[in-house]
Amino acid sequence: MSKILIVDDEPHLRLLYETELRRAGFETMTASNAVQGLEFVETMKPDLVILDIRMAGMDGIEAMQRILERDKRIPVILNTAFSSYRDNYLTWAADAYVTKSSDVSELVETVKGVLENKATAQN
């Protein structure tokens, strides 16, 4: 069962994503800020990280760069209310970019797709 780390400073969104991803059969863990998120990446070795971009303190893009510096193989999905971040090439290193929506199915499907791609690449 794949472990998904959700990093978002909005508690209600963390709860929503956890609920929906668990329902889809994933194991989840959450962090309320980027620093905690990086810690969990080290200690709990998630299979995929969902990163909010706008967070107090370190933002999601910097967190992604730090994650990728350590391990390029961990897939990262950027999840944000700001669709304009797509124009920032720094976000292009992410495996996927999903704009926040109350219909979480797009996020869930993206998680599945990215994990599948990773599995195919490894085989």
Binding site: H12, A81, Y89, S102
Partner: protein, 598 residues
């Protein structure tokens, strides 16, 4: 010396002085005989003094002058006469005679012992003094004076007209030539205007005025003979009379080209010396023969058009039709007139230039104003846009939570539970709000992807062609292997071209010692593949999966973003970019773009 002797001596001096006068004066005795005549009279009638004195004055004139009237009456009658005077050569010259009676002082009678009083008032008027003036000379002087006056007045008119009116440069040039040829003007038959062209360093014929033959001339001059008036009426009448006839002279003027560096050329020298010149058939000066051949006539005048700021050009004028000699006066006025014209031409040019600049300035000002307004409008829009974007984004997070959980409720509640319906309503309404936010943000974001249907083979070939020169220089052979003819891909052509360029540049860089570059297109199931292959060293297996990652580069000066951007561009088109080592030698970078489903 006695007083008498003294007096006599003084009288001799007076008589001597009288004789030396260049003015024609005759002193007549009461008996009508000449007492004395001045040198002016001797010259006029061509007789020595001695042959005049003592003879009756009346015989000198036709009709004979009778001065007895003067002697008998208290005053001269008439005082003023127009007569003719006879010369010793038998000629009759028209003269004016003014007669003045005067009182000779009573000197008494020498030798008879009767003393004179020496007082003129004691005697009846007895002698006459005749002032004679040669009307020929006067008429000639008058004519000259009148001509000068007319020409000066014309100059004055011209300068007023040329400066005052808003004439265009062409009109000024035409006016100048008209004044040189007009009867009221300088009366030359033909005038040619040459202007300096600074760019080419040439003095070039610009405009000419004048009839081409005597018949035409006669007609024009007849037309104009009764046209008086000012410059403008002159210009208009001239315009009409001459318009069709100056074809020949304008044909001549078009051939007039003189390089300004021919400093010895008579025209160039005239300009440099700021001096008008008259050229006569016999003169041998550099350039004269050429001008004479242009004019088809030997005698002409040149006048430079000079202003304080430099040489504008020159005027050539001649009397090829009438054959009249060019006089000193003609030349003097041509020079004066040329000076006036030069300033007028320069003024007109400056004015035109000024007008042009003014228009340009006004346009620039308007443009600036427009730009400023656009900028302000854009700024306002941008502030509005930013504000809406921030608000929209901030609303998104809570909406996602509300809508997300409402969906969970819809899912978890039984269909017949009334709360199911409520939750469904919440979901729906949140969905509406999200759509509004989405549309709003999409509207604010500039539309970056402008898709067009592009023939992919053409695009690949065109892009490769841009590198042809560089490929040749680096001894790289290009092979186009395009096998998707006519296939259209919906894409942003600029972006796809950017990707191809990136691939091509990378390939060229890895083949520093030459090689072979292949650009291939292949039609796949549901897509089209474009690949750029090189015969370079290829890449190490370990870096294969990093090639498209940001900041990864094998080049010392690379940013490591080129392929990342390529990959993103292809992704944004719904495609995929990839790289492979070729089985023989080199690498291949490719992308696949999806084709629209049918």
């Amino acid at each position: 010396m006695s007083d008498e002797r003294n007096l006599q001596r003084r009288m001799e001096i007076v008589a001597e002085g009288f004789f030396h006068s260049a003015l024609p004066l005759i002193l007549v005795q009461p008996d009508g005989r000449i007492l004395a005549a001045s040198r002016g009279v001797c010259e006029l009638v061509k007789l020595p003094w001695g042959r005049l004195v003592g003879n009756p004055v009346g015989a000198l004139f036709v009709p004979a002058l009778d001065v007895t009237d003067c002697r008998d009456h208290g005053v001269c009658n008439p005082e003023y006469m127009q007569l003719e005077i006879q010369t010793s050569e038998g000629a009759l010259l028209p003269v004016e005679v003014v007669c003045r009676k005067f009182f000779a002082p009573d000197l008494g009678r020498e030798g008879a012992g009767i003393p004179g009083t020496g007082d003129p008032a004691d005697r009846e008027p007895n002698h006459c003094l005749l002032y004679i003036s040669d009307t020929r000379q006067r008429d000639h002087d008058d004519e000259l004076r009148a001509a000068r006056l007319a020409k000066l007045s014309l100059l004055n008119q011209v300068s007023e007209a040329l400066y005052g009116a808003n004439l265009t440069l062409d009109q000024v040039l035409e006016a100048v030539l008209i004044c040189i040829t007009a009867g009221q003007g300088l009366r030359f038959n033909r005038a040619f205007l040459l202007l300096v062209d600074e760019k080419s360093g040439l003095l070039k014929g610009e405009l000419a005025i004048g009839p081409s033959n005597a018949d035409e001339a006669a007609r024009i001059w007849h037309d104009l003979a009764y046209q008086g008036g000012d410059l403008f009426s002159m210009m208009t009448s001239y315009d009409q009379s001459i318009k069709q006839t100056d074809v020949a002279v304008n044909e001549i003027v078009r051939h007039m080209v003189i390089p300004l560096d021919q400093e010895s050329n008579v025209l160039v020298r005239s300009m440099q010396e700021r001096q008008a010149r008259r050229i006569t058939p016999g003169m041998i000066l550099p350039g004269v023969a050429t001008i004479q051949s242009w004019l088809g006539y030997g005698e002409f005048a040149v006048a430079p058009l000079i202003t304080r700021s430099g040489m504008l050009g020159a005027i050539i004028a001649d009397n090829a039709i009438s054959g009249n000699t060019i006089t000193d006066l003609d030349l003097e006025f041509l020079q004066l007139f040329a000076n006036q014209s030069a300033s007028a031409i320069e003024n007109s040019r400056l004015y035109t230039e000024l007008e042009k600049r003014l228009i340009a300035l006004r346009k620039a000002h308007e443009k600036q104003k427009e730009d400023q307004e656009t900028l302000l409008r854009m700024e306002r829009l941008s502030v509005m846009g930013e504000t809406s974007a921030i608000v929209a984004h901030e609303l998104r997070n809570p909406l996602v939570a509300i809508g997300g959980f409402a969906r969970a409720l819809v899912r978890n509640l039984d269909d017949d539970d009334p709360n199911h319906q409520y939750a469904a309503i919440i979901t729906e309404e949140v969905g509406r709000m999200e759509t509004i936010i989405h549309d709003l943000l999409d509207f604010i974001r500039p539309q970056k992807l402008l898709r067009k249907d592009v023939a992919i083979d053409q695009l690949a070939a065109d892009t490769a062609a841009r590198f042809r020169e560089e490929l040749e220089k680096k001894h790289i052979e290009l092979e186009l292997d395009c096998q998707a003819p006519g296939v259209l891909v919906s894409c942003n052509p600029g972006e796809i071209q950017q990707v191809l360029q990136n691939f091509l540049m990378n390939a060229i860089q890895v083949m520093a010692d030459g090689g072979r570059l292949e650009v291939r297109t292949r039609l796949l199931d549901g897509g089209v593949k474009v690949e750029v292959c090189d015969t370079g060293p290829g890449f190490a297996k370990e870096v294969a999966d990093k090639l498209f990652s940001p900041f990864f580069t094998t080049k010392p000066t690379g940013s490591g973003l080129g392929l990342t951007i390529c990959s993103q561009i292809i992704k944004s088109h719904g495609g995929v970019a990839g790289a492979r080592n070729r089985s023989r030698k080199g690498a291949g970078f490719s992308f696949i773009l999806p084709l629209p489903k049918e």
